[in-house]
C-alpha cells in the first residue's frame, strides 16, 4: 500500500515537471452512457482540428485531457473541472454538453484563471455566469427563432408546439412562440411531453385534433426523434398536410440513416449541416470522419468542438501559452473566421457565437445517403435568448 | 438372484453441522415391507429424505438395485426407481390433480393416469381441482398415487396416515398392502401409528437418536415388550 502511494505521488510529480511547455485543455463531456455519441463528436471535432492545425502553437504543445460526465450531473462536472484545473493544471476548460454541467463549473473560472469554451450546452444564460465563458455552439433561441419566420412565410397561421418537458424544450417553445406571434401567427396549443416518451401516436392524434395547420417540435436527439418522425408519417399527418417545423436537433445527421425515407422532405433550421457547401467544410468533414471512425456517426457537436478549438488556439496565441484567462478571452472578442458552418464571429459583448442559421431539407444525396440540404440562409444571427431572458 | 432393491451402508446425514443420522446400515429383499419406528426427532424423516437425496449426506453409501446412487441428484435417483412420498405430502398447490399426477409419470403415456384413478377413485372425481383445495386425505392419496405412477422399485412413505380420519387411513393402508402384495415394489414406511405399521410390515427398524437401536420382525416387536417400553415409550400392546 505504502509503495503504491509513493508511486502515485512520484507519477504526479513527474508529470508536473516533464510537461512544463504543454498547454493542457480539459474537455468535459458525455463519453459513455446514453449520450456517448455526442461525446464522440466532441472528440472528433477536436481531433480534426488538431490534425489540420497541428498540436504546436509557438513553443507550446497542446494536450487534451478528457473527463466523462455521462449524464447531466453538476456535482460530478464541478468535481472533474476542479480536478482538471488543480491537479492536471489545465489552462482551458472546454466541452460541456449539458447546461447544468457548465453552470456548475462556471463559478470556478475566475479564481482558477481559466477560460471556458462551451462546445454545446445551449441555454442562453450560461454566458452570464462568468465573464470567462465563450460559446462556439448555438443556443436554442438562436436556431429556433428563424423557424417561426419560415413557418409564417409558408402561410401557416395556426401552429401547435410540441416539446420535451425539460429546460431546452421550454426554451424552444418560448422562442418559437415569441417569433411566431410577433410575425402574426397563432399558437393553438402547447404540449410538453415527458422525456421518456416512447410512443408518439397519441400525441399525433392530439395534434390532428387541435386543428393546427402546422406543428413545431423540439426533442432531444436520439431515440425520441426516431419515434416522433415515424409516428408523424404513420399517423398520416404529412398526408393531412400538417406542416413540420423543427430545429436541426431533430434531423441530426447521425440519426438520418435510422430515420430513413420517413425523414425525406423534413425542413429544419440549424447552424450547421454536414452537407454545407464550402471548402472549409469539405476539409473539416474529411478530417472529422477520419477521426470518428464511422462516418455515419458524425453530427453537429463536432463543429462546435472544432470551432471551440479554433478559439482556444487563438487564445493560446494571444497569451503565448501563459495562464491569463482574461487576456485570452479578450483576445477572441469580436474574432471572426470562416468556420465549416460558414462565416462566424464571437460577439464582443455576449461572448456567444454569431452565425448563419440555415433552413435545410432532408434529401437523398447522389450516393444514396441522407443529408440536410441547405435551402436558405439567415445571416449573422445573434442570440435572441439573452435579450428575452432580461 | 439379483441385487437387493435397496442397500444402505453406514449412512450418516444431517443439517448443517448437526448429525441427525448416524451410521445406519440395512438391506432389504425385493417386495419387502419395512416399518421404521421411533419417537419424534429420532431421525426417521431424515433417513427417508437422505435416501431420496434431499439431505446433506455426510458419510456412507446407498445402493439401489445394485447400483451406487450415493452421489446422484434427487431426480436421477427417481429415474433409477426410487419413489418418495414426503411427510408434508408436497402436493403442487397451483397444479390440478391431473397435472400433479402427470409430473409423476416419468415419461409414461398419459393413459397411465387411469391406474391412479383406479387406485383412488376419489382423485378421479377431483381431477380438475387445484392441489391446494384438496383435503388432507386427498392430498395424501394424490402424493402417493403420483409417486406410484412412476413405477418405483423402492417406495418411501413418510407418515402417510398423519392427521387423517380413521376411515381414510384404512383406505390408504389397504392400498399399500395391495401394492406390496403385488410383489414388485419394496416399501419403506415411517409411521407413528404403530399398530397400523406393524400390521403392514414384515421388517421393523427402530431408530433411537439417529442410530438403529433395534431390528427385527413385527412379531418380535410384539413379543419383546421391553423393546417397545424402551424405545417407543409404550406400556404394552394389547
Amino acid at each position: 500500500m505504502k509503495r503504491l502511494v509513493l508511486a502515485v505521488l512520484a507519477a504526479a510529480a513527474f508529470q508536473g515537471a516533464a510537461l512544463a511547455d504543454t498547454v493542457k485543455i480539459g474537455v468535459i463531456g458525455p463519453f459513455s452512457g446514453p449520450f456517448a455519441l455526442q461525446g464522440k463528436n466532441f472528440k472528433a471535432g477536436i481531433d480534426a482540428y488538431m490534425a489540420m492545425h497541428g498540436t504546436a502553437i509557438g513553443d507550446d504543445t497542446v494536450e487534451i485531457i478528457y473527463r466523462d460526465v455521462p449524464k447531466a450531473d453538476p456535482a460530478q462536472s464541478k468535481a472533474l473541472a476542479q480536478e482538471l484545473v488543480v491537479k492536471e493544471g489545465v489552462q482551458y476548460l472546454a466541452g460541456f454538453y449539458f447546461t447544468p454541467d457548465a453552470m456548475a463549473a462556471a463559478p470556478l473560472l475566475e479564481q482558477a484563471n481559466v477560460p471556458m469554451v462551451i462546445m454545446n450546452a445551449a441555454t442562453s444564460a450560461i454566458v452570464t455566469k462568468s465573464p470567462l465563458v465563450v460559446r462556439t455552439s448555438f443556443t436554442i433561441w438562436q436556431t429556433v427563432t428563424p423557424t417561426a419566420q419560415v413557418a409564417f412565410e409558408d402561410g401557416t397561421r395556426k401552429i401547435i408546439t410540441v416539446v420535451s418537458d425539460y429546460a431546452p424544450g421550454h426554451d424552444a417553445e418560448k422562442a418559437f412562440q415569441a417569433g411566431f406571434e410577433k410575425a402574426g401567427g397563432t399558437i393553438v396549443e402547447q404540449l410538453r411531453l415527458p422525456m421518456a416518451t416512447n410512443d408518439f401516436s397519441p400525441i399525433m392524434q392530439r395534434i390532428k385534433d387541435s386543428g393546427a395547420e402546422g406543428l413545431f417540435v423540439f426533442l432531444p436527439s436520439g431515440p425520441p426523434t426516431l419515434g416522433f418522425v415515424k409516428a408523424y408519417n404513420e399517423n398520416g399527418l404529412n398526408k393531412a398536410g400538417i406542416k413540420f417545423y423543427a430545429p436541426g436537433d431533430l434531423t441530426q445527421e447521425s440519426d438520418l440513416p435510422a430515420l430513413g425515407d420517413a425523414a425525406l422532405g423534413l425542413r429544419t433550421t440549424f447552424h450547421y449541416s454536414i452537407a454545407h457547401d464550402s471548402s472549409e467544410n469539405t476539409a473539416f468533414v474529411a478530417a472529422a470522419r477520419k477521426a470518428i471512425g464511422n462516418p455515419a456517426e458524425l453530427s453537429f457537436p463536432s463543429v462546435g468542438a472544432f470551432d471551440g478549438m479554433h478559439v482556444i488556439y487563438k487564445m493560446i496565441e494571444a497569451t503565448g501559452g501563459e495562464a491569463d484567462a482574461q487576456k485570452a478571452v479578450d483576445a477572441v472578442k469580436g474574432l471572426s473566421w470562416a468556420s465549416p458552418r460558414g462565416p462566424v464571429s464571437i460577439d464582443a459583448e455576449s461572448r456567444h457565437i454569431t452565425q448563419n442559421i440555415y433552413l435545410r431539407e432532408v434529401s437523398k444525396a447522389e450516393d444514396g445517403s441522407y443529408i440536410n440540404k441547405e435551402l436558405r440562409t439567415f445571416e449573422k444571427q445573434g442570440d435572441p435568448g439573452l435579450a428575452a431572458a432580461k | 438372484m439379483s441385487a437387493a432393491p435397496i442397500e444402505v451402508r453406514k449412512l450418516s446425514a444431517g443439517y448443517g453441522p448437526t448429525r441427525v443420522l448416524e451410521d445406519v446400515s440395512f438391506s432389504l429383499p425385493a417386495g419387502a415391507r419395512l416399518a421404521v419406528l421411533g419417537r419424534n426427532g429420532m431421525g426417521k424423516t431424515t433417513l427417508l429424505a437422505s435416501l431420496a437425496g434431499q439431505t446433506r449426506r455426510l458419510d456412507g453409501a446407498i445402493h439401489l438395485n445394485g447400483e451406487d446412487i450415493t452421489g446422484m441428484a434427487t431426480a436421477a435417483r427417481a429415474h433409477k426407481g426410487l419413489g418418495y412420498v414426503p411427510q408434508a405430502r408436497w402436493v403442487f398447490p397451483t397444479l390440478t390433480v391431473e397435472e400433479n399426477l402427470f409430473v409423476g409419470l416419468k415419461g409414461r403415456p398419459r393413459s397411465a393416469l387411469a391406474e391412479a384413478y383406479r387406485m383412488f377413485p376419489r382423485l378421479g372425481e377431483r381431477r380438475s381441482h387445484l392441489g391446494a383445495r384438496l383435503s388432507g386425505g386427498e392430498q395424501q392419496m394424490l402424493s402417493t398415487a403420483r409417486s406410484i405412477l412412476g413405477r418405483p422399485t423402492v417406495l418411501l412413505l413418510d407418515e402417510p396416515l398423519e392427521g387423517l380420519a380413521p376411515i381414510i387411513c384404512e383406505e390408504l393402508m389397504a392400498a399399500f398392502v395391495t401394492l406390496a402384495r403385488s410383489g414388485d415394489m419394496t416399501i419403506i414406511l415411517v409411521e407413528q401409528r404403530i399398530r397400523s405399521a406393524l400390521d403392514f410390515a414384515d421388517h421393523v427398524i427402530i431408530l433411537e437418536r439417529g442410530r438403529i437401536a433395534w431390528m427385527g420382525t413385527p412379531d418380535e416387536v410384539a413379543r419383546e415388550s421391553q423393546v417397545i417400553e424402551r424405545y417407543l415409550g409404550i406400556g404394552g400392546l394389547h
Binding site: - | N40, G163, A165
Partner: protein, 254 residues
Amino acid sequence: MSPILEARNLQKAFGGLKVIDDVSLRLEPGDRVALIGPNGAGKTTFVNLVTGNLRSDSGDVLIGGASVTHSGPAERAHRGLVRSFQVTRLFQDMTAEEHLALAILERDGKTHRLAGSYRAMPQVMREIGILLSTLGLGTVAHRKVREIAYGQQRLLEIALALALRPKVLLLDEPAAGVPQSDTGRIEAALADLPADLAVLMIEHDMDLVFRFARRVVVLAAGAIIFDGPPQAVTRDQRVREAYLGSYANVRRAH
C-alpha cells in the same frame, strides 16, 4: 374468577377444509393446561388464531375480558398474551442477552429510544441476569443464537417469553427436539413459572403433559373432544378413538 383468556366459537377453514370448527376455551390465572391431539388436529392453527398470527373466519378472542379479535399479534402481546414458537424463531445474529434486553425494553415501551444501551440500565441488566440464571443460560449470554445448542435455544425461547411478563403464556411444544440431557432443565423452568400465570402448552410428550398439566384439552379434527383432568383423559372413549393406533392410546397413565 374471571377468565384471563377466552376463545369463543373460533372457526377457520383453509380452501374449504375446516381446520378449526367452533372451538371455545377459557383460561384462568394460574391455570396449567395441556392442549393435545393427533398430528394435524389443528393445534398450531388454534394457537395462531389466539395470538392473532392468523385471522379467524368467525368467533372472538378476549384477553382479560376485552375483545382483541380485531387486534394484531403486537397488540395482543402488549395485553399480556405471549407465545413461544414450535420451531425456534430467534434472531440468529443476536446474543442471548440482546434477546432478553429487546423483550424487556419492548415490554417497558423503550424500544423506540434512539440512544443509550441496555447495558447502561441497571434495572434491565439485573432482570436479564435473573432470567439467564433461572434458565441456566448464564454461560451463553454473549453468544449469538446461531452458536448455541438447540436445547439452550429452546430455553431462551422460554426466557424470552417470560421477559415479556405475560399474563397468559402459550408454549408450543417447548421440549420438542431437545436432547434428553436438557429436558430436565426445561421441565424445571416450567415448574418455576409464576403461580398466577395462565399457561397453555401444546405437547406430544405425554410424560411431560402428565407431570405439568392440571387440566388437559384434547383437540381432534378441529374440535375439542375432551376437557378435564389428566387422569380422565386416557379413559375417555372418544379420545381413544381419535388416537386409534397411535402412541397415546396404548400409554398407561403413570
